[in-house]
Assembly symmetry: C2
Homo-oligomer: 106 residues x 2
């Protein structure tokens, strides 16, 4: 008797890794407020508005993770690279763990 062993493989590990970091979440907050920012802009606003004085490279790496997860799409225009948020991958969270409807209070 030959039983195949099938272990479920997670669909979107990148998504959770992406939102698992506080700096990356703050970047998403920023892009929600002002979509289409450049790296330079994001760095500046993180510093001024969030007291987050990370290096340019750190933020660049974070953006790469967000892009890999599909939460950010980029558009290059000359020497500028604009970053646009895309929240649709988050849909899979509430699909995976459905949020209960409000139960009527007795």
């Amino acid at each position: 008797m030959h039983l195949p062993i099938t272990v479920p493989v997670e669909a979107e590990p990148d998504l959770f890794k992406a939102i698992g970091d506080a700096t990356r979440r703050t970047i998403l907050d920023e892009l929600t407020e002002k979509d289409g920012q450049t790296l330079f802009e994001i760095c500046g606003r993180l510093t001024v508005k969030h007291g987050l004085a990370s290096s340019r490279q750190a933020i660049s790496q974070h953006l790469a993770v967000l892009e890999q997860a599909g939460l950010v799409h980029t558009r290059r225009q000359g020497r500028y690279k604009f970053h646009h948020i895309d929240t649709s991958p988050l849909r899979s969270i509430s699909e995976r763990w459905p949020i209960d409807r409000e139960a009527p209070n007795p």
Copy 2:
């Protein structure tokens, strides 16, 4: 001139930490499928269904993180401790980063 410096503080850091780990996500999957499991049950099902042979203590620690984040509520009954999933904290994710409505296709 005395300017107060106000840096936004994140509302629910625990939530993202909780779902940031793959084992914890799998535990949530398990409780979605069969709510009210004990530690022993969860360990067994993780091993058999997910090929996840973690130690009992590792899973216990994960459950503590999930409970701290409000994603799991526990009920002790004698020597058993039943774990119940509560997905309502996940609501804050789509509130924080609203998911765009489907744009009509041209």
